[in-house]
């Protein structure tokens, strides 16, 4: 395609920017503003790619392909599908917000910090556009390296243990994926995702699932999650839970589901069980968590469970809902983590017991937190509700029990999110809340309001994503039950042309 | 008759070889060990002769038993007698393991030979008169093994430099 360079630019531009801010001997302010500028231009590039993307045409678009090493048929092959376009958009937006927040909050060693953030942007975008298994893996791992530093250097007191756990755990999962990639690629004769056919091997499938399940994380493989989310700086936690976890969900979608129709059918039930467990388990732990980050972290676990539930419904509703929910949860958890960061800055604690009463005299904080919070608990009408509804409606077609579990989770989500909102905003001021804790500053609003505004826009029009993610014919019903009315869907497969 | 003589010589040399070998390993005094090694080398030279390796036998005596061992004795003399008891020191499993491993290797060699005797090892090929003589060896060194010959000299040069580097300690030792 003629516009393939744009995809490459989306990867390389932030990386180049990262190297630039890292190498140029700029002063702190200049570094931050340059990085932010790069991040915003990146958003512009993404908007340009949306403009050039033809949503009515199925298949890969804005693609570019160059051979990398030919004897094993590995190539640099990038391009967009509808859903990857949205996930890339989520990435650039959240990263821009994170950089903006960091710029406001101020970080030590800014050159390295912003350099890594920008490089991270490129790497994550790379994950979403890679159309070659090995390239995907390269970006997948490359994404982890900046994160390792971002958590490990700029994190909180327990960061060393947190990073160790996070990186080694997730990489152990990824390495199983590497084994699967090799086996799949060599047995297919090509590593290209678009050209290769499907595979019926359970083991290869499980290798991929291992990587994605750890990264997402899927219960009970989330051991890295609480500490990583607690010890990171807020903007990094935002990126981790908002974007990086989506890479895993994307992996489920792009590789696990679309390349392994038979194994998906075989393993659907166990995976759905884990996802449902994660949904309830995460919700309950979020309800019991003593601190802000804990609530958001475990709610992320729950949300990832929900998304996986939708993906493995493998039908129109489930898949579209999952993609929508990926974007939603990305924006929501980014907003919430940044807010948590702002609150922690003001009170130097995230303990819910020490907070409270922050609504009085802080209307902006109260409004933003309330808005983000009620969207997070998927109040009907919010985009998160749309996603959740579609996911559960989708998975309901697989079995009513899944949706019943999801319904329980709806109630639990209300419980933990309201607990969070109340503990921060309402009742008498907590012991850590003093008058010196000001309302959100304009700079913070500048970061948060666009995120919330996006959420509101999506709430008005969730179909912006669900209508523009998959070609209409991508979900194929391979066997019909012959029931009346609208065809229910026990055996679907996702075919990405 | 000649065969009996050869056998007799072989048996004597072999037992000398065995005995001196064991002696090298078991003498607690390095000096005696070194002397035993000379005996071992000499007895090996006899065996080489029996195997028609005349040049090698000569070199064994001249170079090995002569030059190299003299150097050894020199160093031993220089350092003084430092005896250490064999079988002593170190963890007990070390000694046990050592005996087991050595015995295992030996048994394996014997087994290998045993497996092989039914095969071809018993028929020796006839050799011509030059076999093993300096002429033959010299020819080989200048033709087929020219490179090996040259490399050997290089290794010796390296070793010589090493000896100088490691041995010259003018700067050190108060």
């Amino acid at each position: 395609m003629t516009s393939g360079w744009l995809t490459t630019a989306l990867i390389l531009f932030p990386i180049a920017g990262g190297l630039l801010v890292w190498l140029l001997p700029l002063r702190s302010f200049a570094v931050g503003s340059t990085a932010l500028l790069f991040a915003l231009i990146e958003v512009g590039l993404w908007i340009d790619s949306v403009a050039r993307f033809n949503f009515s045409r199925p298949g890969l678009q804005l693609d570019q392909r160059t051979s990398w090493f030919s004897d094993l048929h590995v190539s640099y092959h990038v391009g967009f599908y509808g859903f990857s376009l949205w996930l890339a958009g989520l990435t650039v937006v959240v990263l821009a917000a994170a950089i903006g927040y960091a710029f406001w909050a101020g970080r030590e060693r800014p050159r390295a910090y912003y350099g890594l953030m920008l490089i991270l942007t490129g790497a994550i975008v790379g994950v979403f556009v890679a159309q070659d298994l090995l390239l995907f893996y390269v970006f997948w791992e490359a994404m982890l390296i900046p994160l390792y530093f971002l958590v490990g250097v700029w994190g909180g007191a327990g960061r060393l243990r947190a990073t160790l756990m996070f990186v080694i755990y997730t990489m152990a999962g990824s390495l199983l994926m590497l084994a699967s990639i090799i086996v799949l690629g060599l047995s297919q004769g090509t590593f290209d995702l678009v050209n290769s056919g499907t595979s019926g091997s359970d083991w290869i499938f499980l290798g991929f699932v291992a990587a994605f399940a750890v990264k997402a994380p899927l219960f009970p493989l989330h051991a890295w999650l609480p500490e990583a989310y607690r010890e990171s700086s807020p903007e990094v936690a935002a990126v981790l839970s908002g974007v990086v976890s989506k890479a895993a969900a994307y992996g489920f979608l792009r590789i696990a589901i679309s390349k392994f129709p038979e194994p998906v059918a075989d393993f659907r039930t166990p995976i759905l069980v884990l996802a449902a467990c994660g949904l309830v388990y995460g919700s309950l732990l979020a309800f019991g968590a003593p601190d802000l980050r804990g609530v958001i972290a475990y709610s992320s676990l729950a949300q990832m469970g929900l998304i996986v539930l939708g993906l493995f419904a493998v039908n129109d509703l489930g898949l579209n809902g999952a993609v929508l929910q990926m974007v939603n949860h990305g924006l929501i958890s980014a907003t919430l983590f940044l807010l948590a960061g702002g609150i922690e800055r003001r009170t130097s604690t995230g303990e819910l017991a020490l907070l409270g009463g922050m609504a009085r005299g802080r209307p902006a904080l109260a409004t933003v937190l309330m808005t983000a919070g009620v969207i997070a608990l998927a109040v009907p009408g919010s985009t998160a509700f749309a996603g959740e509804f579609a996911i559960l409606a989708g998975v309901f077609q697989t079995g009513w029990g899944w949706a019943a579990v999801g319904a329980v989770a709806i109630v639990l989500a209300a419980m933990y999110m309201l607990r969070l909102i109340s503990a921060v905003l309402h009742q008498a001021p907590g012991s850590a809340v003093s008058d010196a804790a000001l309302d959100l500053r304009p700079a913070e609003l500048g970061v948060l309001v666009p995120l919330v505004a996006l959420l509101l826009v999506l709430s008005a029009w969730p179909a912006a994503i669900t209508d523009h993610s998959f070609p209409k014919t991508s979900v194929q019903v391979t066997s019909s039950t012959g029931a009346t009315g609208y065809a229910p869907l026990p055996n679907h497969r996702l075919a990405l042309p | 008759m000649a065969n009996v003589l050869v056998w007799a010589v072989w048996v004597v040399a072999a037992f000398a070889c065995l005995g001196s070998g064991i002696a090298v390993v078991t003498f607690s005094n390095p000096f005696y060990s070194a002397l035993s090694l000379i005996g071992n080398l000499a007895s090996l030279a006899v065996l080489y002769l029996l195997l028609s390796a005349e040049f090698v036998a000569a070199a064994q005596v001249l170079v090995y038993a002569g030059a190299v061992m003299v150097m050894f004795l020199f160093v031993i003399g220089y350092l003084g007698e430092r005896a250490d008891a064999p079988w002593a020191g170190g963890p007990s499993w070390q000694t046990l393991g050592a005996v087991l491993a050595s015995a295992a290797l030996f048994v394996e060699v014997i087994v290998v030979i045993g497996l092989k005797t039914s095969g071809r090892l018993s028929d020796q090929r006839p050799v011509d008169s030059v076999f093993g003589r300096p002429y033959d060896i010299g020819r080989l060194f200048l033709t087929d093994h020219l490179l090996a010959f040259e490399i050997t000299s290089i290794v010796l040069l390296v070793a010589a430099v090493g000896g100088v580097v490691l041995g010259s300690h003018a700067r050190e030792t108060p």
């Binding site: 109040v379 509804f389 309901f396 009513w400 019943a404 009742q427 | 394996e108």
Partner: protein, 632 residues
């Protein structure tokens, strides 16, 4: 007509957004005016829509309109769709009409609160949500409105967020409603699976093919769950009394006139689905009957003025459920309307009292307000009479037609009819207990302290915005019922006929019997109330156990606390302590530790002894040789 409907829907949303975004650039009073104006605009638009709809022939009074696709998935497409038909217009009129009065009333009531802007934004948001609920053209939009009213209810109950009780009540309300939302969502999933659409017309035409049996019952049960939660019927009733923590106009608007009656609207709206599952419909009627009795009983012992009214609301909604559950949709909707009038009136009058008494809500501290607040006294009196179903006030017309419909519904209906009759007596009793205790007798010390000092500098009955709106509602409560007199004059039923054709039609005799008996019982209740609470002729029977049972609202709160909330908390803590830490985190840490142990083990073999190293080579070579010789 469509445009009018959209204007009606979006005007309050615009006001809410404008107030939020304007921040401090708009005055507090300005926010109030803006909100009032927007709701009034909605009302006007609703009237216009009504007038235009009137012009259509009854069979063609159904006009859907889709703004855009809200949620899509492959072939499925759920639009942002409204439906203008008699039922929705009826509700639009009630909601926007009563709403505009209450919002206007708030201008006076909330005057001086330092977060007035937030209040009016929330109020406008609520009206928008409620209108979205009633105008929704498919089940999804209805569910969205359904959830949004829950949200705005949460926001408004917890408006005074520094009160822990208010925050707790708000959370409780939201969570209980979330349960209803969840069951509704489940019902919708079945609908999607069976019909591939959520648009009312499509779904209803598919009702036949929904397949009998579990599917249709599940749908109806799910919807009923939502209705029960939203309308505070048994068994999800516990949130409503607590919701009285919110400002009184909120109680009037949300927890009396509009939101809590949404369940009734829902059943009327989706009646084809319920009719396909008649057992569920009967269950709804039964729940309504049970609620109306239980709530009436509890109301007898409450001491908080607003809580008494709240229980009466539950009780009255019980009547409505009874009606729609028996298929008398128009009767239910009619009672919904009159109830909106007199219940809003009662709340607002109570609000004037509370306002005058500096926020005090305990009736035991009140008394003798009759002379001090004559206007309020009259208004409250009209409301109470209407509530008790005394002719010619509005409640009489609507309630009695419900009872008549019950009588017409066979043996099941007749059982419920008995419950309704008991309820009528209870209604008279608790309504006038409240009335006599608060207004009659001599002013208590507390009352004197507040009113005689005239600390507000006002006549004690609030500013014009309050009195005027209460006045309007008094009139409506008095004469609103004249819109329909069953079997003689039935414009409401006729209007609603195309949208919800009734299943029962009471005969004239049934109407008459019900009316006479109900009025008699209501008057009896009033008489008993007078005897006990005003004249003091009769001592209320002291049955400690019953008293405690009623004061603790049948221990339902405690039951739910023990059965659901505490287990959830314990489960959360237990999972954290016994699963998360030892299993999920511990397993990984244990793995790392064992790896390190193994590493240390290899270090121990690495003795530093060169002989060991040689031994390892010799032994390995020996092993390899053996293996080679063995397998060669």
């Amino acid at each position: 007509m469509i445009a009018a409907a959209w204007i009606c829907l979006l005007a309050p949303l615009g006001a809410a957004l404008a107030i939020t975004l304007a921040g401090t650039r708009i005055t507090r009073r300005g926010a109030g005016y803006l909100a009032t104006a927007s709701v009034a605009a909605s009302f006007v638009a609703a009237v216009v829509a009504f007038a235009l709809l009137l012009g259509d022939s009854p069979e063609e009074r159904s006009h859907p309109s889709t703004l855009w696709s809200w949620l899509t998935a492959g072939q499925l497409d759920f639009g942002l769709r409204i439906l203008v038909d008699p039922l929705s217009v009826f509700m639009m009129l009630v909601v926007a009409g009563v709403g505009s009065l209450i919002v206007a009333y708030s201008i006076g009531y909330m005057d001086g609160d330092d977060e007035e802007r937030r209040y009016f934004a929330y109020m406008a948001l609520f009206v928008f949500s409620m209108l979205l609920l009633v105008q929704g053209g498919n089940l999804l939009v209805l569910l969205v409105g359904w959830g949004l009213v829950g949200l705005s209810s949460y926001l408004l109950i917890g408006f005074w967020h520094d009160r822990p009780s208010a925050v707790a009540a708000a959370k409780k309300a939201f969570v209980m409603n979330a349960i209803g939302d969840a069951t509704m969502a489940l019902a919708l999933f079945v609908v999607i699976q069976r019909s591939g659409s959520l648009d009312f017309e499509t779904v209803f035409t598919h009702t036949g093919s929904l397949g009998g049996g579990w599917a249709v019952n599940l749908i109806a049960l799910g919807l009923l769950g939502g209705a029960v939660a939203k309308s505070a019927q048994l068994p999800l009733q516990t949130w409503l009394p607590d919701a009285m923590e919110g400002p009184t106009p909120v109680s009037a608007l949300i927890h009396a006139a509009t939101m809590v009656t949404a369940g009734v609207y829902l059943i009327a709206r989706t009646h084809p689905l319920f009719e396909a599952a008649p057992r569920v419909l009967e269950l709804a009627a039964g729940l309504g009957a049970a609620t109306l009795v239980v709530a009436g009983l509890i109301a007898l012992v409450q001491t908080d003025i607003k809580r008494v009214i709240a229980y009466s609301t539950m009780s009255q909604i019980g009547y409505m459920f009874l009606a729609v559950g028996l298929g008398a949709y128009a009767n239910g909707m009619f009672h919904l309307m009159t109830h909106a009038f007199f219940k809003a009136l009662l709340f607002m009058a109570a609000g004037i009292v509370i306002h005058a008494l500096a926020g005090e809500q305990d009736i035991r501290k009140m008394g003798g307000l009759r002379r001090l607040m004559p206007f309020t006294y009259i208004a409250f009196g009209v409301g109470a009479l209407s509530l008790a179903g005394v002719p010619p006030f509005s409640g009489f017309f609507s309630k009695d037609s419900i009872l008549a419909a019950a009588l017409a519904h066979g043996w099941y209906g007749q059982i419920l009819w008995v419950a309704g009759m008991i309820g009528a007596f209870l209604t008279g009793l608790y309504a006038f207990r409240l009335f006599f205790v608060v207004f009659w007798g001599e002013p208590s010390g507390f009352v004197r302290e507040h009113l005689l000092k005239d600390s507000h500098g006002h006549a004690g009955e609030g500013p014009l915005s309050m009195t005027l709106t209460v006045g309007v509602l008094t009139v409506l409560a008095a004469i609103g019922g004249w819109l329909q007199f069953a079997r003689v004059w039935t414009p409401v039923s006729d209007w609603l006929e195309p949208a919800a054709r009734p299943l029962v039609e009471a005969t004239g005799t049934q109407e008459a019997v019900s009316s006479v008996l109900a009025v008699a019982l209501g008057l009896a209740g009033i008489l008993v109330a007078w005897l006990v609470y005003s004249a003091g002729r009769v001592q209320a029977p002291r049955l400690a156990a019953v008293q405690a049972l009623l004061e603790h609202k049948f221990y339902v709160d405690e039951l739910y606390d023990r059965a659901f909330y505490r287990p959830a908390v314990l489960l959360a803590a237990g999972l954290g302590r016994f699963v998360e830490q030892p299993l999920v985190l511990g397993s990984v840490r244990g793995l790392v530790r064992s790896m390190r142990e193994l590493g240390l083990g290899t270090g121990r073999v690495q003795t530093g002894l060169v002989r060991t190293y040689a031994l390892s080579i010799a032994a390995s070579v020996a092993v390899v040789t053996v293996v080679f010789l063995a397998v060669r």
